[in-house]
Symmetry: C2
Subunit: 406 residues, 2 copies
Amino acid sequence: MQNNEQFSIVYPKGFKAAGIHSKIKKKKKDLALIYSDAPCTASGTFTKNLVKAAPVIVSEENIKNQIRAIIINSGNANACTGEIGMANAWMMVEGTAKVLNISGDEVLVASTGVIGQQLPIDNIMAGIEDIVEELGSDKDNGIDAAEAIMTTDTFRKQFATEFTYEGKEIRIGAICKGSGMIHPNMATLLGFVTTDAAIDKELLDEIVVEGVNKSFNSITVDGDTSTNDMVIVLANGASGVNRIKDKDDDLYHIFKEKLIEILKKMAKSIVVDGEGATKFIEVRIKGAKNDDDAIKAGKAVATSSLVKTAAFGEDANWGRILAAVGYSGIEFNPYETNIYIGSSKGELLVCEMGMGLEFDEDFAKKILSEKEIYYLVEMEEGKGDAVIYTCDLSYDYVKINGSYRS
Amino acid sequence: MQNNEQFSIVYPKGFKAAGIHSKIKKKKKDLALIYSDAPCTASGTFTKNLVKAAPVIVSEENIKNQIRAIIINSGNANACTGEIGMANAWMMVEGTAKVLNISGDEVLVASTGVIGQQLPIDNIMAGIEDIVEELGSDKDNGIDAAEAIMTTDTFRKQFATEFTYEGKEIRIGAICKGSGMIHPNMATLLGFVTTDAAIDKELLDEIVVEGVNKSFNSITVDGDTSTNDMVIVLANGASGVNRIKDKDDDLYHIFKEKLIEILKKMAKSIVVDGEGATKFIEVRIKGAKNDDDAIKAGKAVATSSLVKTAAFGEDANWGRILAAVGYSGIEFNPYETNIYIGSSKGELLVCEMGMGLEFDEDFAKKILSEKEIYYLVEMEEGKGDAVIYTCDLSYDYVKINGSYRS
């Protein structure tokens, strides 16, 4: 198989998908369906925004059940749409169940797009009749679905991986949408993962919470959490491998590692899809009082426009990093803090015990000229660690700040 | 007098100022001096960042005293510079005291520029010898000082006002630097206010804290608080008017109003100096549980890149406003929340009880086409109010998000 990623969510056995244009958007694909031949163990995480879109409320309800299908529309978020919006979300669920001849309990729904406008529900219901005819497990089906959930994403986001356990292949596939730039496009992040592994719901729930924390919740999207954010994982067991029921099971650990790896790849693709972003940045915090403090410090650094513009300018302006930790709200001693910059070109200590060092500017430039770079902040407060992912700010944002130091 | 603003900090009686090039920057003015003939009551607010620059620490110490002079350099922040930095800040204070023949206790110091590099202290000490020769009360002296504190500001920021009390004129003048755009240039905000009023320190302290909260602390500069932020007010009494000693004094109230008005103008000038900013935006929150909640909600709205891009696009995308309040961390009922947009062209209810209304899009466009607009969020939780100032995001940031809804 040349590129299993293109199969994305139909790569695992027993899954079908489709993506079509149902006239929510003017021209582009706007309706996606993911379908499993067998009932799936389902886990998900949903937006923590107090203002929740109707499909979030409906899917939070149904995810307690075994799931057969997810219906997703782009172009309209069905958020802030009151009772009519709730009714429309349920109609999408019931309509999908009907054409698939399954129960409404077995369907999840997701939407992304503009907030506060009612769905063109007639178009969508007609679309649901049409889309079921398009379901398939070909590469094109995966691509169609990946495209149908896009809003202003600049590229479609699709993933797949597999591993062998006791002679049997287990596959994981995924699609997602969103942009990790300073202005998240449409402010909605949707992610859907399919696997032909078999696993108990409690175990899958735990893995998904941990995995989403280490991936989507570790990317900075400017603090904006949307009304519609949703990450869903479906496991249908079609690989025929033993069901994962226990953490002592070897397979549990292999599966967990592979799933989290996919979630991280998805999150990373969202960071990379920033308008004009030229660099992927890891902010690594070590030695904070605890993990919560480390996350706070990491997010302060990763969301600082000053840090991000300096990254674009390939300028080792570590003072901005220290200043961001300084206003992050955590307690720490700046005079016991070291800062390193790094990439595949090497690592360089630029600030020792809170003070600037004389360092080789050419080497610093070389390190920061890479596409993937990291900043490491080392404190002396405790054992709290975190890694936060972000991107730089592109030239147009940056004219003034990026090259400030020179 | 044609334009008293150009006199800025030398507009009040008894103040002199100067601004020169002392070779910290390559070419531009980089050293400013403000001097009062008589000792001044002095009040100030300083950065809350845990990482404080040396001049902040020194000025926090000296502001307890009566003050005669402030020495300010741009081009280098003298932050994260350890013991050498502290020694250099004190040298600037003592050097200034010496050339002015006053005590070191009577001098404040401020710096703005790159972090983590030692000051070119020899150049600065030579500059201090030179700058004292340039002190004067002419318009050009005010302009020179305003220019010498600039970093990447796109225009110099100078202000003045006066009022008459019992036949005597009281004047207030000010200069400041900083940019309120999403990436605050150099992340430093400096503000200096002079007045020839006479006032007790406790009363001035109170006014300054309240005034800074309603002005500089109500503008959003992307969450970045700098290592060097500082706002200082000096009152030398040279107007000859009675000393303000009591809140029952009419003059207290008039003076307070005028001073806060100047502080707001200064803060606004910083918001307006955003790279490519086309609009000044007031985010008004009413009916939050308390003022703290109102401020949190207002800041979430004002820092949302999605809200700011929609403002640029003149798009009444109120859903982004409601979503921002939703993730601000406050408790409120979205279904008891109204949102209005407004400007000098009128006011329009766009979201009632958390749901979108059909509204006149042409009228909305007309309202939002103004240079100064506001968003009003009305909740039903309590009596908490706040007004936060911000600006939009310019076209280059905005290609994707600004015109999203159409």
